[in-house]
Each structure stands twice: as structure tokens, then as C-alpha cells.
Amino acid sequence: MSNPVSALQGAAYDGYVKVEELGLRGMITVRGNLASTKLKNAVKAATGAAMPKQRQISIADEGAVAWMSPDELLLLVSYDKVNEVIAAFEEAMAGQHFLAVNVSDARAMFRLSGDKVREVIAKISPVDMAQDEFNTGDFRRTRMAQIPAAFWMADEQTVEIICFRSVADYAYGLLKDAAEPGGEIGIFG
């Protein structure tokens, strides 16, 4: 039997914000008509979360749903439930034009925690991280330096980040560098 591991196996760095690679997370890319009631119900059944609005993430106890584009969602579920969630999703969507694919092993996840997470992101992404521009519930696909990434704020002290697994090491190095003690800016209070 294979023993799945995440890209950096939980590596962590204590900078002026904490950087952690998170373990394995189930991720399912869904494409389809986001206005369809069938799809909304299937997404809710899969994650427990309601359909997010444009550029938002909707988070429930057992899962989450992120808005990726006008016809794409990312479902976050527990890693060991992915196959059964997809099977149930496909059954619920039978006859509809849609796609649901397991991308869990093609992604890596990071968490930043601390009271200066906003400025660490602002250093490496072209996103306005001011409190009145980006908040809990917002979800942003963008770049971190030279790689594509997406992130949201779980709370005011926590940013969660998804990137491609193939660039996990680059992402980790980048985040550590941005979070290095002595590099504090203090622009977001």
C-alpha cells in the first residue's frame, strides 16, 4: 500500500508570523453551471457549505467551497473522503454537464498565523490587503512572486494558501523569507 504524504510533510517556520505547510487535504475541482440548483445541492451535500458568492469562500464544519471562476469551484474536504464525495457528487449530478476531479495530490497548502499576516501576503502578491479591501470570507486567486496561488483569511490572524504541489518548496521558501524576523513593516497596524 502506498503511504500518501504532503509535499513538505508539515514543515514549519517560526518567523514574525508562523509559516506551516499543512498536511494532506482533499480538493476537488468542479466545473459546471454555478447557477444550477442541482449543482448547488450537490456542492452542499459534498461539503456542508453553501454556494459562495463571486470571489468568496464558504466554510462549514466538515468542508469548504471556494469560487474559482464563473464556472469553477474548488471543494475542500478531508483527504480520505475524496473518492466517496466524488462518487456521491457524480450520482447527484447524473445527466448534467459538469466535471468533478480529484486534485488533492496536485496541490499544497500553507497556513500563516500571527498578527502581521496581512503584510506578509502584501509583500509577495499584487493584492490590496488593507482591512477594508480584503477580509474573512474573501478568496483570491493571484500570484505569489512567480507562482500562481490562492488564499483566504480564516480569521484576522490566519491566512490559508493553496498552490500547486510542484512549486510547494518555492512557496515555502518565499513565505519564510517574507516572514523573516527583522522584515516587519507594520503597514496594516
Binding site: 463571486q54 470571489r55 474559482m68 471562476s69 464563473p70 469553477e72 499584487p126 493584492v127 483570491r140 486567486r141 493571484t142 500570484r143 500562481p148
Partner: protein, 109 residues
């Protein structure tokens, strides 16, 4: 540095989140066309000094292609609009006309 608004996800971001895709509203010529038509389709671009229409892709974002109306001299962006059109929307034309009266670009004016 250009600031563009993606008409699909509504993000307003600077140009490094996007990727330029060349001239907009190009009519494609393939099998059955003359050599001159095919040559012009591939190689003859207007590359104007002033009002210009381009295709852009929200590469580090939602991934969608869209159109942008901008000025290659002032770097002003007049507006962006979806890819699902072969014409320039009237509201975009009006915004360009407000700044550059009497403009024309290829067959559009």
C-alpha cells in the same frame, strides 16, 4: 503599469496578474482563404500609437480571456469587456470617444 479589471471575476489588479494576448477582434482565415488573407491574419497587425484594443488573459486568477480598450501612448485603460463578442460594446466606444474624439481602429470607430 496597467491596472485592469477582469470582467469575469471582477478583480481590479495590476498587469502582472494578467497576460497580454495581442490584438483583439482578429478575423481568422483558414482553409479556403487566399494566401494574402492568411498572411494578413497571421502577421499583419496594426500596432497603433494611441487607441488600441487587445486580448488579455487573467492568467494568475480566474483564467478567463477578455478584451481591453486602452491607449498605447498614455497607458490609460478605457475599459475591459468579455470575450463573448466580435464587436466593441457601445459603452466602451463612448468611453474612448470621450477622451479621443474621432478615433478609429481598423474597421471600428
Amino acid at each position: 503599469m496597467l491596472i485592469l479589471e477582469c470582467p469575469y471575476c471582477g478583480v481590479t489588479a495590476e498587469e502582472t496578474e494578467f497576460h497580454g494576448g495581442g490584438e483583439a477582434h482578429i478575423k481568422r482565415y483558414g482553409p479556403g482563404s487566399t494566401e494574402e488573407e492568411f498572411n494578413n491574419y497571421l502577421f499583419a497587425k496594426v500596432n497603433p500609437k494611441g487607441v488600441h484594443f487587445e486580448r488579455w488573459r487573467h492568467a494568475n486568477g480566474c483564467g478567463k480571456w477578455f478584451h481591453a480598450a486602452r491607449n498605447t501612448v498614455t497607458l490609460e485603460v478605457y475599459g475591459t469587456y468579455t470575450a463573448q463578442t466580435s464587436d466593441i460594446p457601445q459603452d466602451i466606444k463612448d468611453k474612448v470617444s470621450a477622451k479621443v474624439p474621432g478615433w478609429s481602429w481598423r474597421e471600428f470607430e
